[in-house]
Symmetry: C2
Subunit: 440 residues, 2 copies
Amino acid sequence: MASQQFEPPSGTRDFLAGALRTREHVFARIREVFERYGFEPLQTPAFERLETLTGKYGDEGDKLIFKILRRGEHEATGEADLALRYDMTVPLARVVANYGSQLPTPYKRYVMGPVWRADRPGRGRFREFAQCDVDVVGSSSPLADAEIVCAMADALDAVGVREFKILVNSRRALSGLLEAYGVPGELGGGVLITLDKLDKLAPEKVATELVEARSLPADIAKALVSDLTAEDAVERMRTALEDSEDGRAGVEEIDRLLDLATSKVGQARIAFTPSLVRGLDYYTGVIFEVVAEGMPGSIASGGRYDGLIAALGGPDVPACGGSLGVERIIGLLGDAAAQDERTDVALTVIAEETAAEVMGFAAALRDAGLRTEVYLAASRKLAKQLKWAADRKARFALIYGAADKEAGVVAVKDLDSGEQEQVPAAELAAYLTRRCVPTG
Amino acid sequence: MASQQFEPPSGTRDFLAGALRTREHVFARIREVFERYGFEPLQTPAFERLETLTGKYGDEGDKLIFKILRRGEHEATGEADLALRYDMTVPLARVVANYGSQLPTPYKRYVMGPVWRADRPGRGRFREFAQCDVDVVGSSSPLADAEIVCAMADALDAVGVREFKILVNSRRALSGLLEAYGVPGELGGGVLITLDKLDKLAPEKVATELVEARSLPADIAKALVSDLTAEDAVERMRTALEDSEDGRAGVEEIDRLLDLATSKVGQARIAFTPSLVRGLDYYTGVIFEVVAEGMPGSIASGGRYDGLIAALGGPDVPACGGSLGVERIIGLLGDAAAQDERTDVALTVIAEETAAEVMGFAAALRDAGLRTEVYLAASRKLAKQLKWAADRKARFALIYGAADKEAGVVAVKDLDSGEQEQVPAAELAAYLTRRCVPTG
C-alpha cells in the first residue's frame, strides 16, 4: 500500500479513468434530459464570499462550511473571507439577485457540480460530492412543479433507474392534518419531524416519541399514527383533510400535480403519501421524494419553496425545484453504468527508422475517429509490445518494420481472433475504419 | 446595476447558459481529441493537504495559494490544513505516487478543470480558471514528446484555431548555446531568462539587459542577440551547436521531434526556434510553445520534465506534457464558438382543463428528443404566450384549447414563417420530429 500522504484528503476522492467515465456518463445523460426540458445550465464559482453563506444553513450547517483564509498581509489574522460552496441554492439566489432581467422569466436552470461540507467522512458520505439540481424561479404555476417532477423521473429513467416511486405530499396538507387531529399549533413542527420517521421506525415507536418528546396527548398520537399507517391511509387522510381550508387546498395541490405529471411518470409510479414530511422547513407547497426498491432513504427530492430565494438574499419570487442524489444513484448503478473505453488500434514501434511513418499512420487513424495508441515504452521486442497492446484491450495491433515498409504494407493483427493480415499502407485507415465500426 | 454584494467574488465568474455552453463545447472537442490518443481522464479533489502544495511553486507561488481554515475546535487557531488546487501537475505527482501499479505504464492522462490562484485579478486574469493538461508519465521515448505535440495541435484544430505555429527548442540545445558562446556557467540561468524576452523586446534592449542585469560581457551579448535574431538564425545556431555535446544532443532531440510530429502537424506549422526558452526551469528535454496570429504570448506550451514528478513527491519517472491555454483560446474564439441552444417546441397553456394533455404532448415530444418548453407564467392570454415562445427562440408554438381538444387537433404555429397548421393530436410527435430534424 502507498503511504497515506499520497492519498486524497480525508472525505475526498481521486477519480481514475473508469470511475470518472461512469460519472461523466451519468451526468451527460441527466444533462440531456434537462436540456430537453429547456432548463439552462449555470456554473458559479467554487467559492463565495463568506457572508453570502454564513447563517443560511443553520448552526449545524455553518460549522460544516469550509472557510478560506484571507491572503497576503491579512493571512496572519487567521480570518476567513471566502468559503467553499455548500449547496447550489444559495448561489442560485445570488445569481437571480445579480442578473435579474438578463435571465429569462421564469428562470429554469440546472446545475451539476461539486459542493463541499466538512462532515465527518463515512461510508458513502464525502466532503466533496456532486449535487445535481433543477429549479424554476419566478413561476407559481402548478405546471412548474409538474415539470420538476417529470424531469426528475425522466432523468432517473435515462440513467437506468426504472424501479422507483414518487411520493407526493403538500405542506398545506400537512398543516391541515395537524388541524384535523387537533394538534396544538405550537407542537406542529416537532410533531411533523417525528412523523417523518414513519418510513424508518415502527409505528409504536413513533407514537411513543410523539408523546414523550413532543408532548402530544396520547390519544391524538395514537389516532395520527394508526390512521397514517393504515392500509387505507390515503382515504382516511382525504376524509380528514376535507375539514380544514389548508387541508382542502393541500389535497387540491396534490391532485393537480398527480394529474399533470401522470402522462410522463405513469400512474403506478407516483402517489399521494400522507406521511411524507421532508425535514427542511422552507417548503411552502407540494413536496416530493423518490424512493427506489432496495435503497434506504430517497434518491431524489424537492418541492415548492416560495419564500426561500428572498430569505437567501435574492428577490421575493416563487420557486420550486428538485435535487437528484447523484452520488447515491451512481453507487446504486455500480458496474451497470461502467463505461469501458476500448482502444481501437495499438501501433507497435519495432524499428527506429519506421517510427515517423508509424506516427503518420496514427495521425490518419485518429483523423478517421479511431482511438489509437502508439507504443511509448523502451522495449523493441515485438512480443512485449503485443502484450502491451493486449493489456490496453486493443482490438487491433499494427506491426510495421523495415521489410513491411519495403513491401508497402502494414501487418494488422486482430487481437480478438489472433488472425493477421497484410494491408497496403495506403488503405490502412479505410480498412480499419470498416473493421472497427460495427462494434466500435 | 445590481448591488456589488451579489456579484461573484473578485476574480471569479458566473457562467450563464450562453458562455457556459461555449466553454463546454470547447472542452468537449478537446476531450474527444485526447480520447482518440488514448489519454485517460483524471479528476482529483478541488483541495489538497496544504503540505502537498507548499514549497512546490516557489515563494511567489506559495503566496497565491488559497488556504482553507481548519474546522471545529481548531478554527480558532487561524491555521490552515488544506489548500485549493493551484495547478494540475502536483496532483498528478501525488496520484502517480499513490496508485503506482494500478495505473497503466506509461500513464497517459488528460485533465480539464478549475485551479485557483490568489493573483491580482485583471483583464483576462482570474482567480478561478480552467487548466487543460495532457501528460505522459513513465516514458522517455521521443515518441511520447511527439504525441504531446500532435495532441496539442489536433486539439487546437478541433476547436477551430487553425492559424498557429509550434515553436520547438530543447533545454540541452540551450545549454549547448551558452557553451558555444562562452557564457560563464554561473550566468546561464539569468541569461536564458533575458533571452526569453526576444519575442517581446527589441534586440538592443535584450542585449542591454544581458550586460546590465546579467553581467554578460558586451561582445558575447551582442553576438548572441544578433545571431538569434538574424534571418538565418536557425542555420547559425545549427552550426554553433555542433561544437558541444549538449548542443549536438539537443539538435538531435529537436530534429527527432520534428520528424515524428510533421505527418500530423504539417511542416509549415512547426519549427526549431533557437530563441525559445520557456520560463520554468524544470524542463529537461524538448520544449515547445504554440503561438497564434494576432495573439500576444502563447496559447499552448509544454515539454519534457524528467525530474519533476520526483521533485513534487512522486516516484522518479520520466515525463513530458503540454498545457492548452483554454481560457485564452475561449477568449480568442469569442462568438465564433458560441453555442446557441434553440427551443424546438414551445407549448402554450391557454385553458386550465387542457393543461394535463399539454403536459402529455410535452412528454411525447421530449421522448422524441425535441427540446420542448411549457409556458409556466401566469397569463392565460395567447398573445402573451406567443411572445414568450418567440423570446425563447422556439421554432414552433403549439396551441391547444377546449375547441382543439374537441376536434382532436393541435394548432402548430411555425414561428419562422408565421404559418399555422392543424395537426391531429395522435400525429403530433411524428409531425414535429419530421419538421425539426433538418435544421435541429
